[in-house]
């Protein structure tokens, strides 16, 4: 939903980033306001995932130029955990497995750390159990996932649901979902998308990083951006995604070249 009068939530200006000295992002500009859904599409290697990791604060990526403001404050000087506590959430393309740590313990630690940093009440294990079970219903997740080790032995779809469950618990103002649709079958895609739509309000924003139109049938974007070689080369409405689906990326990237 576009609310034109809202103050920007995220402002990215001239963002350049390198990994191991290799330039990946070469000047990105993007403004996201509360209530909006942005889709970032583009061919493999165009820098989509790097962009999402840079926003979330992955230490392996070095910002060479540009600025990023979140709620008007400099985001780039903050550590990954500070960004998370401030309300930035990254849904991972490949969530990490942590054997030996139960999902329940991890989720509660994450939730309470973020709540504490936001000056809100933490929950004891029993209270948290009620809360997390309620949220799991949204994603049609079996409560048995609470007792299993974090992501260990989860299928691709189960991992992605667990990511959106974390989003549901942490209630970010900006959720960046990196290839959340990859590895999902039709039913899982419907459930995960339904969860994201449920969590999306006029006060928060979502950036979807995806290859495919099919996710955008479920989560309808206000803007679609096409990335190529570390830049956003075209921006349009939701109809742009359909055009990309029909025509591929070549016509956009050639026109931009």
């Amino acid at each position: 939903m576009i609310v034109s009068s809202a103050k920007p939530l995220l402002e990215v200006r001239g963002l350049c980033a390198t990994v191991a000295g290799v330039p990946i992002l070469k000047g990105i500009d993007l403004v996201v306001k509360p209530g909006e859904v942005h889709a970032i599409m583009g061919p493999n290697g165009s820098g989509k995932s790097t962009f999402s990791k840079v926003l979330a604060g992955h230490p392996a990526y070095e910002v060479a130029a540009g600025e990023v403001l979140f709620e008007g404050r400099d985001l780039l000087t903050q550590e990954a955990e500070e960004r998370a506590r401030a309300g930035v959430f990254l849904g991972f393309q490949y969530p990490v497995e942590v054997p030996g740590v139960t999902n329940a313990a991890f989720l509660r630690l994450s939730y309470n750390t973020v709540q504490g940093a936001r000056g809100k009440d933490e929950l004891d294990p029993l209270e948290f159990d009620d809360f997390v079970r309620e949220r799991m219903k949204l994603l049609e997740m079996d409560p048995a996932f609470l007792d299993r080790s974090v992501n260990a032995g989860f299928s691709g779809g189960e991992k992605k649901r667990n990511e959106i469950l974390q989003m549901a618990l942490l209630e970010p103002r900006l959720a960046i979902l990196d290839e959340t649709d990859s590895g999902l079958d039709i039913d899982a895609l419907r459930i995960v998308s339904g969860g994201v739509n449920h969590l999306h309000t006029a006060d928060n924003a979502v950036i979807l990083v995806t290859h495919y139109q099919r996710l955008l049938d479920h989560i309808v974007p206000d803007y679609v951006h096409v990335m190529e070689s570390g830049r956003i080369v075209k921006t349009g409405g939701k109809e742009l995604a359909r055009e990309l689906e029909a025509r591929g990326y070549d016509w956009v990237t050639k026109a931009a070249a």
Binding site: G57, A80, A84, F89, V98, G100, L109, S149
Partner: protein, 424 residues
Amino acid sequence: MSVATDSDWLGDLLRSTLAAEQSAPESLKALRARALERANALRLPTVRDEEWRFTDLAPLYKGSYLRAASAIAFDAAVVDRIALAESSARLVFCDGHYIAGISNLSTLPANVTVTRSHEALGSLAAIDDDLFAALNTCNFSDAAVIDIARDADCPAPIHVMFVSHQADAASYPRVLIRAATGARVVVLEEHVSSSEGSALVNAVTEIDVAPGATVRHCKLQRQATTQFHFGLISARIGRDATLVSQSITLGARLSRANIHITQAGEGAHCQLDGLAVLGGRQHADTHSTMDHALPHGTSEQLHKCIVDGGARTVFNGKIKVSPRAQLTSAAQQSRNLLLSDRARVDTKPQLEIYADDVKCAHGATVGQLESDELFYLRSRGLSKDAARALLTYGFAAEVIERIAMPSVVKRLRDEVLTRIGKPA
């Protein structure tokens, strides 16, 4: 301060040996006399000995240790802190001496017998080429001898605690577990300190698993980091019997674990787990031998080390498959996690296979925490230290969670989570 010569240092250790004690049973007197003879004949190991290449005992030889002749009063809170909710009985030893007052045998199952001496002591622990085992054998006073009757099932753990209390003392914990045919038992052997003073703990554990029996033995070493620990575990597994052995090393400035397991019956099975979590200047060395002597035996060994600060671990895992031991299946994994640039791991598998129809696998890895994994947890709001601790625990969990005692699992989880990232 001058460094003691071999004979001085050993002389101190042997000055008050029990080998001359006349009141002991004849079998024990003979055993001690033979051990004393070996102790006098063997040289102190140095890094020039192949078995000690990576473990320099110079810090040990700098100190002087006298056998603790008796227990002296210590703060029993040490014992209360580590008491297990689920244990059936507990035996407490202070500096190698049995303390009846704070032990509890009243709840011991009827088919388990506990004594302080037994003629079978020394039947498994070889002393001929092992100075520390010989020193233990001529010096130990009270042994923890646990006999489990035929077909008895004792799932509640028997907790054997050894408290090191007196500074500059040498103590000689001694354990003998005898599981009769078809018996099942769980034993926790725990070594702790009630003070920070330097001390030498030299332990020997013998485990005899009769046909069809199952012994789960967990050795937990969490002494003060000013101390030394030498431990021998010598086990014999009979036909169709199972030994699950876990050695967890958290403490001591320098420790050495020798583990000798002999599969002495067909179809024996052994799961041998090791976990060392070290920091500061700690050094832990494990030398194990899995001896497959008869056919159809299986063994699985998982040895994990987490090394922080300037700490160092050594692992040498030998698997022997004798010509008769056809259809043996043996697997050994050495997995190591380095948490600092100064930490060091030396790991070496050693396979001696003389049978042709066997399956033997081994592997070793040394790695660090992955930055992607740390980033994942930090992106969920966890601090860098919390993320590091959680991932480190995740690495250790595979061993810890196989321990058949829930309160030990919980205690170790808390301990690993809190000590990572803090200077040892």
